[in-house]
Subunit: 239 residues, 2 copies
């Protein structure tokens, strides 16, 4: 906290998958049900991790201009098809569509809504995610997360950590990047925000990738603040 | 209500200025204070009406491609400067900036928040206004309006009633236009939404232009539904 000017911040941007909602439990839980119904002999937890591992490379191809911009749902479907083929799994189109939509309905981390509500009393608090506007609107509504507004990488037709995603968000909110605090649990997101001139807060989510994977650690990344969750972040910021 | 399939609707888009918030009271009230402090001998109510009258023509020049896209704040400032010049009024830059920002903080109509909250229980409810994202986020937060998300004509870099504004909103929410209900109190907005393939609800706001001007009347426009306010609309839609 030393040296961090909390009064200089006007806007807080929050990452969603992993930072605000528990994608691992949500996706592996829904996948387990779909696999059971279809008698697919895959371990849902390992499947969720493997699927998520394909997320950054898929977005990187868009950012690098190797393919036109595509919705996150499209990238998820392509990586799903590829993953199921690798495991030689037969699964009908309807079940695949339901798996893609599993990313639209994920449980919030237990303290997230209460922490966001406290942050909102002092700051404008917006979502900024690689999920599309439709996905985010559905997810935020179902999880009852009290954001002031929802912003998506879709509005920049790119993906985080491309600087233009963070800059599009600050431009839409008409605020200087150094008056914005990006909250995330991934080093690549924190690094991207810092490179775009934003301030950063690393929120630790040790269980973000489930029990068998190591989550990103704040010690591996340079950030202005670190917090164990949104309530501690609210405390640090005097909310 | 006869013939209107409320179950076919998934998303409700709400206009803001006049429909959800009382721009006349908000702008004329703030203008009265600024004029009093600067000893400007203008009638604030007439001024607010005259300023608002310049709104549609200014946006029309953008829609017609006669000038590049510009923020609503920019259009408001230009028309303000022109209006003050017409009245030969001297007013410093700071006071003019405060007048432009009057549009960022406007009181909600008394039943709006309660009506939106009821509509949200059944539908996804989003703002869709010609105000920019920054303006809308500030206004919606201050007025405590419970939208699921905020969308702006800025995202289409045009202005209502251009069809691309409504279509950009439905595309971002990944919903067919005919599953969307546009709620507005202006005939031109209802007409624009209908032309873009949306369903429409005219909400009557007889005092929208203050005591000396006639507000738009539902009888002058073709809409699927008409309601006296958001609570009656919620009632009609079974919320």
């Amino acid at each position: 906290m030393s040296g961090f000017e909390r009064d200089a911040v006007q806007v807080i941007l929050c990452d969603i998958f992993g930072t605000t909602v528990d994608w691992f439990s949500g996706v592996s839980g829904q996948a387990a049900e779909i696999f059971a119904a279809a008698e697919v002999p895959l371990d849902a937890a390992a499947f969720a991790n493997d699927w998520r591992d394909m997320y950054l490379p898929a977005m990187q191809r868009v950012r690098a201009g190797e393919r036109p911009w595509a919705y996150l749902d499209t990238l998820h479907r392509e990586s799903l098809d590829s993953l199921l083929e690798r495991h030689a799994v037969v699964l009908d189109d309807d079940a695949r569509a339901r798996l893609v939509r599993a990313w639209h309905l994920l449980p919030a981390w237990p303290e997230a809504a209460a922490g966001l509500a406290r942050l909102r009393t002092r700051y404008t608090v917006a979502a900024l995610s690689n999920g599309g506007m439709a996905l985010l609107t559905r997810l935020v509504k179902a999880a009852e997360l009290p954001f002031d507004c929802i912003l998506s990488a879709e509005l920049a037709r790119s993906y985080k950590p491309a600087p233009k995603v963070y800059r599009t968000a600050t431009a839409l909110l008409d605020v200087d990047p150094d008056r914005v605090l990006m909250v995330a649990t991934h080093g690549w997101d924190i690094d991207g925000a810092r490179a775009a001139g934003l301030r950063t807060a690393f929120v630790e989510r040790p269980g973000e990738k489930g029990p068998h994977r190591q989550a990103d650690r704040p010690s591996d990344t340079v950030s202005d603040l670190t917090a164990s969750d949104f309530l501690q972040l609210a405390e640090i910021l005097g909310c």
